[in-house]
């Protein structure tokens, strides 16, 4: 852009635009700020009216998230030995004692296992397929690519019925493997489309040079194309991970115990008389924070990822 341009917006219009967008940003971030701050509120503070903006921070929500608690009779409560740890103390302050760990840790770990497992598999299969679609003459290429994309249009519930029946037969219900395969099948369309775009951008000449140097096609793929596509593969992987991480419909229908991920679990965190909001907020914070960080890391490739590579900027 030249120093002086007639199309450059005026200073005043920039200022107004900046103010309006800042205002929108503040409003749109408010619910997220509220989630994070509610996680650090005590039970009474979280449900006070008017809603408290300033409050004494408490780790009650986080302690409640990771523990199960029981009430004991007042007499017995008096006779208990003094609390040993800081989290014991927080629970005592609520008039209860710790009964054991909660399931949150397990559910979070399931999210990690299923998320990373399916991401790895989607990227592995997706890179191979994308390379083939990008470089070779595959018969019915366009039809196959469209077929891969169209699997994304199905409402999850539509395929959930037979998958539920199929998994019941095969013993895959409520297993990590079952969920990994399922999420891979959902993510692979995104992986193939995005990766094909990234590989298309790598000049063919690099591989041709390698082939002339005596590399086999497979070696050229591994030693020339893969390193060149590394950024694309990494950002595709993050998109797959975020999808698997956030998925709810299949998780709630097909898992109940062993393989249940965090999204169906967090809404079931209840305390005395309804949801334990500080604990829900604490769980949500722990669960959402990695995605927020990834989003900031991904910002350059965001558009591409959310449009299946249709818009590349």
């Amino acid at each position: 852009m030249t120093a002086y341009s007639i199309t450059e917006p005026s200073g005043r219009s920039k200022l107004v635009a900046g103010l309006l967008v800042t205002l929108y940003t503040i409003v749109t971030l408010l619910p997220l700020v509220w989630i994070i701050s509610t996680g650090f509120k005590s039970g009474p503070d979280s449900i006070s009216y008017p809603p408290k903006v300033l409050f004494e921070p408490s780790l009650e929500g986080y302690v409640n998230l990771f523990t199960t608690r029981t009430r004991v009779a007042a007499e017995e409560f008096q006779n208990l030995p003094p609390p040993e740890t800081w989290y014991d103390e927080i629970v005592r302050d609520q008039g209860m004692v710790i009964a054991g760990p909660s399931r949150f840790g397990e559910r979070f770990l399931n999210s990690v296992i299923i998320g990373f497992g399916s991401t790895f598999l989607s990227i592995f299969l997706g890179t191979l397929a994308a390379y083939a679609f990008s470089r070779f003459k595959v018969p019915l290429k366009d039809d196959l690519l469209f077929f891969i994309l169209s699997t994304r249009m199905m409402p999850p519930i539509a395929v959930a019925i037979p998958i539920y029946l199929m998994y019941r037969e095969l013993g895959l219900s409520d297993t990590h493997l079952g969920m990994i395969l399922l999420y891979t099948a959902v993510n692979i369309s995104l992986a193939v489309w995005l990766l094909k775009g990234f590989i298309d951008e790598i000049p063919r000449e690099y591989e041709e040079a390698a082939l002339i140097d005596g590399y086999t096609r497979f070696q050229a793929f591994r030693k020339v194309v893969l390193p060149q596509a590394a950024t694309g593969i990494a950002s595709t992987a993050i998109f797959c991970l975020i999808f698997a991480w956030n998925e709810y419909a299949f998780a709630v229908l097909l898992t109940s115990g062993t393989a249940q991920t965090a999204p169906p679990f967090i809404p079931t965190i209840i305390g005395v008389g309804g949801q334990d909001w500080p604990a829900v907020a604490a769980g949500a914070t722990i669960f959402l924070l990695p995605v927020m960080i990834f989003t900031i890391l991904l910002r350059k490739h965001l558009l591409r990822g959310i449009t299946f590579g249709a818009v590349r900027k």
Partner: protein, 314 residues
């Protein structure tokens, strides 16, 4: 100096590569594509065909030992003549229309403002985008807290701004606000999506076009309607396509916010489908329901893509 051991290692192809060396490009192509196709056939197409087959039966998944009868088109006829299902379709259409309307309106406006390239626009764009990347289930669940009539932030804000007492209305309860509550949350989550795509559209317009218009003394208003809007339109239509398909399938966020209630006020088709399939266990019936929904979204999307391609060609 190249290390001789390294060089030797590089010269000796590993066993896998040796086996693959002799393969033609065509074989490699198939070898690379086959696993993906196989996975999709096993976990997408096979289940879909199974759904079609089930849709002609009276099968119930909770009674696997009962005899299964083929009932022909009975499930389909029942669904298409059921007033309740047409009401759910209208609820879905209402949700689709207003979410798309607000997201396009706000998303485009934001993109247009951000395109003034004021200082810090990159940072704000990144912050605005955050909600759409988060788990709709977890966030949807938290919004029920924000919508609490007694203690929630939303009602408090309304009281602060308009003076309406906070506990006099309930966004998720009876009173007709619930369909708008889900529209608000969806708009909050997905406006950034439309915004990002519009922004890409706006940035794809070269400066010289505006310079030429400026020289022709076209007014800003005229430039906006004859240059900006037509050039962003294909992008905007693409955003609408994506959001349309997603919101037609909408399940997670709404199921946690309202669960379809109060009454059936927010009973979107996919939530109703889930009830039929996994609560009432009418497997055959809900399979037919699923097929009808899939055909609808696929059909609408195909017509829309044709229109989109026409706009692109212009």
């Amino acid at each position: 100096m190249p290390n001789p051991i390294d060089a030797a290692a590089r010269a000796t192809p590993d066993p896998l590569a040796r086996r693959i060396r002799g393969l033609s490009d065509r074989t490699i192509a198939w070898l690379f594509v086959a696993p993906t196709i196989f996975l999709l056939l096993a976990i997408n197409i096979f289940p879909l065909i199974w759904t079609v087959r089930l849709s002609f039966t009276n099968y119930r998944a909770n009674r696997p030992n009962e005899e299964v009868e083929f009932v022909g088109l009975r499930n389909y006829i029942r669904i298409l003549t059921d007033d309740g299902i047409w009401a759910n379709m209208q609820t879905t259409a209402h949700f689709l229309f207003w979410t798309l309307f607000f997201q396009v309106l706000i998303g485009f406006t934001l993109a247009w403002l951000i395109n003034r390239k004021f200082k810090g626009n990159d940072l704000l764009t990144t912050l605005i985008v955050l909600p759409m990347m988060l788990s709709p289930a977890v966030v949807g669940n938290f919004w029920t807290f924000l919508y609490q009539p007694q203690i929630g932030l939303v009602n408090y804000m309304v009281e602060l701004l308009t003076g309406t007492p906070a506990s006099s209305f309930s966004m998720l309860g009876p009173g007709g606000y619930a369909p708008w509550s889900i529209i608000i949350v969806d708009t909050w989550m997905w406006t950034p999506f439309v915004m990002l795509i519009c922004l890409a559209g706006l940035r794809s317009i070269p400066d010289y076009i505006y310079e030429a218009a400026e020289i022709d003394r076209a007014s800003k208003w005229r430039q906006f309607w004859t240059l900006t809007v037509p050039m962003v339109l294909p992008f905007l239509m693409l955003a609408v396509l994506f959001r349309g398909i997603e919101n037609f399938k909408m399940f997670d966020m709404v199921v946690l916010l309202t669960g379809g209630g109060p009454g059936n006020e927010t009973l979107l088709a996919s939530i109703d489908l889930k009830r039929e399939a996994f609560e009432k266990w009418r497997t055959g019936y809900s399979s037919a329901y699923a097929i009808i929904l899939f055909v609808t979204v696929f059909g609408l999307a195909s017509i829309y893509v044709k229109a989109l391609n026409k706009v692109k060609e212009r």
